[in-house]
């Protein structure tokens, strides 16, 4: 990730590039002057205090919301609606899955609209569910599964789409600690195997450092990019080893300082 990206098109160009992005609800400016980019296959975590506008930012990145200033380019194209090649995993699995569809149909449904034939839908949804370790639950209903498993279904739904990037809005906020660790490792595994870029919003600094290649700190009122911190921890990450590294603690306190620091003009 770099601040002030080069031209968004062409080979070697970033996958997502954000320029001068700002959003206001009426007179209330939520964030402004955001400039950053996400490379292909990069894992970026966005952290910031609650109410800083992380979800609004994701809305703008995914085209669900129209920003009041600036532009987002995805794969060289200006984002208006959600671009092909971008899939979203929502925060609350219990509300983002359809209780009337089986696990397999939940995953296959978006493919249907995308014009994928029935046979391929069946194959691709089964593959995606195998990837997240749910090969044995194709015919269950989501509400028959645990919370962590339901979020896996939501992740599989995103993967079945063969996206270049997945955007996740606090995806592990409503599961217990052990499940959370499992899901974190699952997302890392998926990223490594499929080379998908991930943008993940979290308010948990530990989680951000553990997962990310780069942590983007969003803070202030209106919010701006306070820091872009490359995470130079060895890969693959490991729940025990990585979190015991002295560097892990350093990065964590560095990020914490940025979040707490009162707004100072950096321009």
């Amino acid at each position: 990730m770099t601040q002030h990206p080069a031209t968004p098109a062409g080979p070697g160009a970033p996958l997502i590039s954000v320029r001068g992005l700002g959003h206001a609800y009426g007179p209330r400016q939520i964030f402004q002057d955001l400039d950053f980019s996400v490379e292909k296959g990069e894992f970026v975590c966005i952290v910031g205090p609650s109410g800083v506008g992380k979800t609004t930012l994701l809305g703008c990145l995914t085209g669900l919301q129209r920003p009041t200033d600036g532009t987002v380019h995805f794969d060289g194209e200006l984002v208006k609606g959600t671009p092909q090649g971008l899939a979203i995993v929502f925060q609350d699995y219990s509300r983002s899955l359809m209780p009337w569809l089986s696990v397999r149909d939940n995953v296959a449904l978006p493919l249907r609209s995308a014009g994928v034939g029935k046979k391929e839908r069946i194959v691709r949804s089964a593959e995606a569910l195998a990837e997240v370790g749910l090969a044995d639950f194709l015919d269950s209903y989501p509400w028959q599964l645990s919370g962590g498993m339901q979020q896996r279904v939501a992740i599989a739904r995103a993967l079945a789409f063969n996206p270049k990037a997945i955007v996740m809005d606090e995806p592990f906020a409503s599961v217990d600690a052990q499940t959370r660790a499992d899901l974190e490792d699952l997302v890392l595994k998926v990223r490594d195997e499929l080379g998908i870029a991930v943008m993940l919003v979290t308010h948990d600094i530990d989680e951000a450092v553990y997962l990310a290649d780069t942590v983007l700190v969003l803070s202030g009122k209106p919010a701006t990019v306070k820091a872009l911190i490359p995470v130079d921890l060895p890969t693959p990450r490991d729940q025990l080893g990585t979190k015991a590294e002295p560097r892990f603690a350093e990065l964590r306190s560095e990020i914490y300082t940025y979040i707490k620091k009162p707004a100072v003009a950096t321009a």
Partner: protein, 258 residues
């Protein structure tokens, strides 16, 4: 065994009441309240099978056509009104007014236009049945989880797929609740239209028996109407359980803790 037990629980009280009726009315000499024995004899004679062919089936046919029209119109209009907010706001007062107007009050007007034959009956049934379906469909569509709309939008789902796989199933439990109320009202409308219309049917039979001093016939008609209503309701519940099995599963699941 389980099933037998359930049936036993459901019918023991009706059985007791029928037995009581039987015993109390056994030696009745009152012309208006004949003995149950006489009524049942008459019912057997009437409904197996000539009366069923001549009165019950035509009644059911009218009810079925009127009811189906009401369901289709109610659901389609409900989907549109539920999805388009300004339209739903604009039409709310009219809908509230129309559905508060007793459907039976429309019968004279409808008969002016359609006469007293089958179309009058079918139109009246459709008119009174469509309101609960329409209102419940609108509410059901309004109640669709907003997050699912975001999911649909972000995965670029087509409108047809959204309606078929998100809107309709999500609203289905409420649509069914409305359709069930509509069915009960439909039986009432069927009976009432047949009482003032021409061309037979259970309602006509019952009223006609009363005016021609055939009181066992009158009671047989009332009982037949009750049985028809009961069976229709049971059939409806059966269909509902099948079509929205997921809903009952989900309810049972969330009540069971977890």
């Amino acid at each position: 065994m389980r099933i037998l037990q359930r049936i036993a629980w459901e019918i023991w009280l009706p059985l007791v009441l029928v037995a009581a009726w039987w015993i109390v009315s056994a030696n009745s000499t009152d012309t208006y309240f004949p003995s149950l024995h006489a009524i049942l004899d008459r019912s057997r004679e009437l409904w197996f099978w000539e009366g069923t062919r001549e009165d019950v089936l035509p009644s059911l046919r009218r009810l079925a056509i009127g009811y189906l029209i009401a369901c289709v119109v109610g659901v389609l209009a409900g989907l549109v009104l539920g999805s388009v907010h300004w339209l739903s706001n604009a039409s709310r007062p009219y809908i509230e007014f129309l559905r508060s107007t007793p459907g039976i009050a429309l019968m004279p007007l409808v008969s002016l236009v359609f006469g007293l034959g089958d179309s009058f009956k079918i139109v009246t049934i459709a008119l009174v049945c469509c309101w609960p379906v329409l209102l419940n469909t609108i509410d059901g569509v309004h109640g669709v989880e907003p997050q699912l709309s975001d999911v649909a939008r972000s995965y670029r789902m087509t409108t047809a797929d959204r309606v078929r796989f998100i809107l309709l199933p999500s609203a289905a439990p409420q649509i069914f609740a409305g359709a069930r109320t509509a069915l009960a009202i439909g039986v009432i409308a069927m009976t009432a239209t047949e009482m003032i219309g021409i061309g037979g049917g259970l309602g006509f039979f019952t009223l006609n028996a009363s005016t021609s001093f055939d009181y066992t016939g009158l009671w047989s008609g009332i009982i037949a109407l009750g049985v028809v209503g009961y069976i229709l309701n049971k059939l409806f519940a059966l269909v509902e359980r099948r079509l929205i099995a997921w809903h009952y599963g989900l309810m049972a699941h969330s009540q069971g803790g977890n």
